[in-house]
Amino acid sequence: MTLFTIDEVRKTFKNGEVEEEILKGINLSLKEGEITALVGASGSGKSTLLTIAAGLQPATYGQVLFEEQNLMTMSTEQVRKLRASKFGFVFQFAHLVPFLTVEEQLLLMLEVADSSLKKHEQKHEVNRLLQLVGMAHRMTAYPSSLSGGEKQRVAIARAIIHQPKVLFADEPTASLDSQRSKEIMLLLRELTKTLNITTLMVTHDEEMLAYADRIIKMSDGVVLPSAMY
């Protein structure tokens, strides 16, 4: 089922006097329970597309439809609420909150997402998620004492603890070695399937494409027809 539609999205940036069109009319639809991989040369506009889809910046033109609502016409507060409750994010760096323990990172996310769970249910849920990503034993650790891969696993747990509908991942494995990368990808795939999440993932790494259901290739601001790769 289609959950997310990107429709004729364009984005121009002003570099001083010159206007540069980075996205030149992108059409894309994402399906539930699928990982869509976004690949392409550096500078082709992958991250820009992902952040527009995630409501982190507006498009210059076009629509981003989620559950039949257009993100582009929503107020900032509506978009924030959507991000907090329906979207999850994983980036190249884990971007954990340095002064919170692993457990608190996830509890904060539940709070931000306005979770209806009771205190002890939240704790239980956090424990379950951390078990899922294999980090339950580091529950009380601070990010500074975790390895890159461990941080990323916590970040993934944080991205999905509030049961988002869509998961946005921008090069989630770029800071990890290939062994760790595979583990993370397996984890993402498993979560996408079991929780029926819609995942949009940018990656540079050819190896990671094996875990995707669909591969979209971008070049210079447009999506290449599938025949070309």
Partner: protein
């Protein structure tokens, strides 16, 4: 989740440094204001300690009470109308002790009143600072213009005028020494100003400001205090700003995952409040302690009222500083943070 407190707990050193700065500037401000107050006490405690009321001097004195001579009939008239009124005079002069050592004093005489001290002819009541200079009860003191002698009857606390200890003498002695039969001033406690022909009314504050040395001294000291307050305000703001700039990445991430900007504001306000209140508590306690142990010769008076007032000003400044740097946070785009490196 109490993010504010969690961060303070994790980054103790950073917040202790900020707290120390707030402590140092507020402590310095308290000490300076204690000195200013002490000097003003030293300069005019005699007047300052009187309750709010009205001072009347002859209107032809033009605001210089030294030149004021209130006609005896007029004085009588005012005093029958206002039964709490007291007429008094102040003159700077010297007292010589047994060893002919001169002590500079402010001679004060008044009609009968509980607000001033009245003594019998040939007696003198001195400010206690003279006791520290070796003068004792029962000593006899002299003055060049006075034919008799003064016997020290006792001491009073904290009665100073123009940085000199006050010496209360009888009306007769005063009249002989300064060859006047009139008083310079009439003071009516707890009253609104009234019209008396030939007299000009001054409130306590207005009257203090007619004393030239007093107003000049207070002006410069108050200037110093307010400069300190302004400078510390800027220091607060700058430090909070720098701290927040370092955390732009963090704020961006929190915004990206959907934390409300208002929650971020609450976080920095709470932190500001915690740090400021603790630092002020320490500096208030220490300055009050200093108030108790300050050496006797040092004019230092720091009232709880002044400390509270300044503390409130510091809290407001802190709040403004935190809010200003908070506005910076409002502008942070979540994207910026994500595109920056490791957090």
């Amino acid at each position: 989740m109490n993010l504010a407190w969690k961060e303070i707990k994790k980054n103790k050193v950073r917040f202790i440094i900020l707290g120390s700065i707030i402590f140092l500037v507020s402590f310095l401000t308290f000490i300076i204001s204690g000195l200013a107050n002490g000097l003003s006490q030293d300069n005019a405690a005699l007047i300052k300690d009187l309750p709010k009321g009205q001072f009347y001097m002859a209107d032809d004195a033009d605001g210089t009470f030294n030149l004021s001579r209130i006609d005896n009939d007029l004085q009588q008239k005012v005093m029958t109308k206002e039964k709490d009124a007291v007429a008094f005079s102040i003159q700077m002069g010297f007292l010589n002790d047994r060893d002919d050592k001169q002590q500079s004093v402010a001679f004060v005489t008044s009609t009968e009143s509980t607000l001033f001290k009245n003594v019998h002819q040939g007696e003198v009541l001195l400010d206690s600072s003279l006791q520290d200079k070796g003068i004792q009860v029962g000593d006899t003191l002299t003055n060049n213009q006075y034919s008799g002698e003064f016997i020290v009857k006792g001491f009073v606390e904290q009665k100073k005028y123009s940085h000199a200890p006050v010496a209360y003498i009888s009306e007769e002695a005063y009249h002989e020494m300064y060859r006047v039969n009139n008083k310079q001033l009439i003071y009516v406690p707890n009253k609104e100003p009234k019209e008396f022909k030939g007299l000009q009314a001054y409130s306590n504050k207005e009257f203090l400001n007619t004393i030239p040395s007093y107003s000049a001294e207070q002006l410069s000291l108050n200037m110093i205090i307010w400069f300190l307050v302004v400078i510390s305000g800027m220091l607060f703001a700058i430090f909070f700003y720098m701290m927040n700039v370092q955390k732009i990445g963090l704020y961006g991430i929190l915004k990206a995952i959907g934390l409300k900007t208002s929650k971020l504001f609450k976080m920095i306000w709470t932190q500001m409040a915690i740090i400021t209140v603790i630092s002020l508590f320490v500096s208030v306690s220490l300055s009050q302690l200093f108030n108790l142990v300050a050496p006797k010769g040092m004019p230092f008076t720091l009232t709880i009222a002044t400390t509270t007032q300044l503390s409130i000003v510091f809290l407001i400044i802190g709040f403004i500083g935190a809010t200003l740097s908070g506005i910076q946070i409002k502008k942070i785009e979540p994207l910026q943070a994500i595109q920056q490196g490791e957090a």
